[in-house]
């Protein structure tokens, strides 16, 4: 039997996929917002004077980066409720997984960016009587944040794609929505191609937006 590409299936599946897109976006943005908070905290802990804080930060980063996200998702969604006796809704679990996961990578982005700022900046800040935290807040952070933007953009794209793994815990995101369409249409080729195209449109849009933000910042002040 000869394979025939069905354009109608391809085009009809796209509007149906939008329901999944909505969850993909909610989880990505929710997870990354929380992940940025975690990443900042852990990244600054890794730069702390106290060894205990540094050890805690390193343990977190290694544990998260050293285990597959799929395992983390299964553990949180199926494992943790057994121990705590409470059910975590799939959407909440999805946001937490993306947050915990991206947090570890963002921590390294934060640490690297902060460390890349000339130590002379800290010295100048301290020399006018600013405290350590004031120096971080007013001098180091604004400069470091600018350097974080490109790697954070990459992380945005990675996390968006990672949300597809959340189909295993029943989150109705884009890939799972595609799978449901395949289950009734039996047209895996067209539907999964449409799913891929939708992901691509989203990731390319992020990349484009990122370039615009970078250009805008470069215009305001260089460095």
């Amino acid at each position: 039997m000869e394979f025939q590409f069905e354009w109608s299936i391809f085009f009809e599946s796209i509007p149906m996929l939008m329901r999944g897109v909505k969850f993909t976006i909610i989880i990505t943005i929710g997870g990354l917002s929380l992940g940025f908070f975690i990443g900042t905290l852990i990244g600054l802990m890794k730069l702390a004077k106290h060894a205990i804080l540094r050890t805690l930060a390193i343990t977190y980063i290694e544990a998260v980066r050293g285990t597959p996200m799929l395992v983390q998702a299964m553990f949180l969604y199926y494992g943790v409720p057994m121990a705590l006796g409470l059910r975590i809704p799939p959407l909440t679990a999805g946001v937490i997984i993306i947050a915990v996961n991206s947090g570890a990578y963002i921590a390294e982005i934060v640490r690297g960016s902060v460390q890349s700022i000339d130590p002379g900046q800290t010295e100048a800040g301290r020399s006018i009587g600013l405290t350590r935290s004031q120096t971080m807040l007013y001098i180091i952070w604004p400069q470091a944040f600018k350097r974080m933007i490109p790697p954070l953009g990459n992380q945005f794209i990675i996390s968006l794609k990672d949300t597809s793994l959340l189909m295993v815990i029943g989150v109705g995101e884009l890939l799972r929505t595609g799978q449901e369409i395949v289950a009734v249409s039996f047209r895996a080729f067209e539907v999964y191609l449409a799913v891929a195209v939708v992901y691509l449109v989203m990731t390319l849009s992020i990349a484009k937006a990122l370039r615009m933000v970078e250009n805008h910042l470069n215009m305001r002040t260089t460095r």
């Binding site: 000339d118 002379g120 100048a124 301290r126 020399s127 006018i128 009587g129 400069q143 002040t221 260089t222």
Partner: protein, 244 residues
Amino acid sequence: MSMIKIIDLHKSYGDLEVIKGIDLDIKSGEVVCIIGPSGSGKSTVLRCINRLETPTSGRIIVDGKDIMEPATNINHVRTEAGMVFQQFNLFPHINVLGNVTLGPVKVRKMSRSDADKLGLSLLEKVGLADKAKNYPEQLSGGQKQRVAIARALSLKPKVILFDEPTSALDPELVGEVLEVMRQLASEGMTMVVVTHEMGFARDVADRVIFIDKGVIQEQNTPKEFFSNPANPRLRDFLGKVSEH
């Protein structure tokens, strides 16, 4: 009256001892120039005075406060001892006026309008009031260093520490920075200047100090220092410097 008193200062990095026992007493209003070969420890001494480097042992008393005492608020001491760096270290993300007013606003809790008034008067003093809204990268090296001096003055310090303030400048820009420093000296500011500018040391300093191998080898009035150097190392050093 003693503004800075250094007693038996030692500083080591691991096994390497770079400061091997320095005693120094700097009076209020005095201009002291410190010269010496690179790696002699002269910048380290300066950086110990506001504890950007932590001394290994010894005592440093700035304006009556022992900076090694745990009870001393080092941030307060630093507002009394401003610093000017070789590489300027201006804050690139803040405009010139903001660089000068950050300390007054955040440390002294001055109102924005009072700080701006103060900042503009200091920029006026260093001849850069018209650059208030510019960003540091739009300035020449000499202008950057003059802004850095205005920033160091912004907390009304009792002493300013200069760490090779003209070493990173193109030769034709050195003069404008030294001019501002001369003016400060003539107004009675206490200044400790690590420098290679022998002309400045000769004309402006009350005392010139030669540091080599982590100790003070010689100190004297500029006249005696340059015309009658006693220490053979200093003679050798001055000979090499004057060849250029």
